[in-house]
Symmetry: C2
Subunit: 368 residues, 2 copies
């Protein structure tokens, strides 16, 4: 798994003259291996070879060790014979692996926002005299372009997200609470998946004072309520995202007007997406569209990439000069919020293609 | 909140001559503040004063800043005006806070298994020439003795755990799958709590090949099945734990025999708990009790402490020479496992009192 990811990483590091690197960011480790591990875990890069150091309990990790240029060093996890201490075991394993790395000295690439002082000391003891060179954030642009393997996980996630939305739409009824709707959504997704699923994000009645972004509480659905269900389902480490707005009964004339305008804003946003377009320009155009319609401009992003996290490159925000590339998976999510009264947000996911965007989320966002 | 925790920490650090320390372990930060924050967050200790550096979004953090000897430095979290980068914001905030710390140099206490290289550099820039001194694990023995504030959260957790078990017992029926049982448990707990709850652990049919410890999958409950539901509910950051064994229909004669023996083993284990007893001796005695009964001795711990994590001091395992103290909250959980056939585990929680143990979990573990 994720051979392409390692090839791209090797090419980048070769070009930058990096012979030795330690990836400690958990998302980096999962992206380089394709494994949905639990933390902590490390990947040591040595001139095109990748060594994974992770808990002994992962069956898939030994499969990783059989791939070309890859090896797997299991570390002791749960035991009753000594304290459970993954950081100490990782440091020991790192020292042992380092014995096999000859002829390298000088610089070691590191991710300093996740590498702990303890592991850095172990690394420096293993490679005396070495200095660190920051590779912080180097994988992020690579991660923004998805492979077929990653897209398969993301598409499966959207299949489940759609099932969650169906349950959510049915559960939004007068007298139900936010948490009641949420448990219906969660149950539908987990029963379909046949296992626990990591899920998020917002599950909010329109009359709640802060009705833009919040986890479900015991607010009850009242007459003329709208209901935002913003749902992520995570499949094998890969996030989805999606938002629909439901109604307690028939939406009011005002809600219908807002809902239709947000539909138009979303359609407009999608029409702007193609390789080479700049994130900040799309952001600005969609905000202008909202303002031109006479509506308050949402204070959040116009959209964002997804992948191993729920929010990643490319962010569609005012400062971001990144250009869209084929293979990006992005969310677009315009909304209108009237605090304490009603809120409407609609969100879809798109794969950036050679000449536009393919919609890959399929939940029903229509008015009832 | 958690004033006692800070007083005990100050006393310990004073005695050890530590004037300045940075706590980066997320459990340390939550224990020192009493706040159930999200990562990342830091606490800087300076001669009895505690400064919390954490996301600006936490209303409760400003209340913390009003407590004696405490201050709160909010860091920018979600924004569309610049990249979201909590590690960078924490490093900047740390540098600013350090300006106000005068006359300290020499040693800085750190937790090197969680302190990142990036933050260590920010700290060293702020206190030039300073060396680090390891405080790794120093708070663990203090954390093992709970305060009334912590016990209130834990007791509320056990109220919810009991509700989850009631739903689980009802859901264990022929033809239901593990995940179906789990969604019933989860729904019952979240509806009662009125919000999302972090929950775990095991939800397993007896005929599953690995029937000791596993998350729910789509294994179906068959005739003569037993069913282990090992449930944790986390309230304001504090874990509970609990295990009961249920049956698809009437338990077989063999299951009744095993269930009764595990009940006896649990009662025996409880009878051993009092301040001054050694964890490894209790572990050894309960294992001997199992063996004397003619049963395979379980390969896991006899029990463990709980608190801000699901497994913490004192671990009741073969190597642990720690003595129980008044205020420990511990789990005891003997079990018998016949892989692929049936498995029985019963687990309760106890507060170590002046002369024994008070049971604080109240789920029904009886045979039907």
């Amino acid at each position: 798994m994720h051979e392409q990811q390692r090839q791209r990483t090797t090419r980048m590091l070769d070009e930058a003259g990096v012979e030795l690197a330690l990836f400690s960011d958990f998302d980096s480790v999962r992206w380089l291996t394709g494994l949905n591990l639990s933390p902590p875990a490390l990947v040591l890069f040595e001139r095109g070879n990748f060594t994974l150091l992770a808990d002994e309990g992962y069956g898939e990790a030994s499969i990783f060790g059989d791939e070309t240029g890859c090896s797997y060093v299991p570390i002791v996890g749960y035991t009753i014979q000594q304290p459970i201490d993954a950081p100490a075991r990782l440091a020991e394993a790192l020292s042992e692996v380092a014995v096999g790395v000859n002829g390298l000295s000088g610089q070691v690439g590191v991710e300093e926002k996740s590498l702990t002082l303890g592991l850095w000391q172990a690394l420096r003891d293993a490679f005396p005299g070495s200095e660190h060179r920051s590779l912080e954030g180097w994988l992020l642009p690579l991660r923004a372009v998805k492979t077929e393997e990653e897209l398969a996980r993301i598409r499966e996630g959207f299949r489940l997200t759609t099932i969650g939305h169906e349950a959510g739409r049915n559960a939004v009824r007068l007298g139900q609470r936010e948490i009641d709707v949420w448990t219906e959504v969660q149950t539908a997704v987990e029963r379909e998946a046949g296992k626990w699923m990591q899920m998020g994000n917002d599950c909010i009645v329109g009359h709640r004072p802060g009705n833009m972004s919040a986890a479900p509480l015991d607010f009850e659905i009242i007459a003329n309520d709208s209901f935002i269900l913003d749902l992520s389902v995570v499949v094998d480490g890969y996030w989805t995202d999606s938002c629909a707005t439901y109604y307690a009964d028939q939406p009011t004339a005002r809600q219908i007007e807002l809902h239709k305008f947000v539909e138009e804003a979303l359609a407009y946003a999608v029409s702007l997406i193609r390789p080479g377009e700049t994130a900040k320009e799309v952001d600005e155009k969609v905000r202008s569209f909202m303002a031109a319609g006479g509506y308050e401009v949402y204070p959040h992003h116009t959209g964002h990439g997804i992948g191993l996290t729920g929010h990643e490159a490319p962010r569609i925000v005012p400062y971001n000069q990144e250009q869209f590339q084929e293979g990006n998976v992005i969310m677009l999510e315009p909304g209108i919020y009237i605090p304490g009264v009603t809120a409407i947000r609609l969100e879809d996911a798109f794969l950036v293609t050679a000449d536009g965007a393919e919609q890959i989320s399929h939940h029903d966002k229509r008015l009832p």
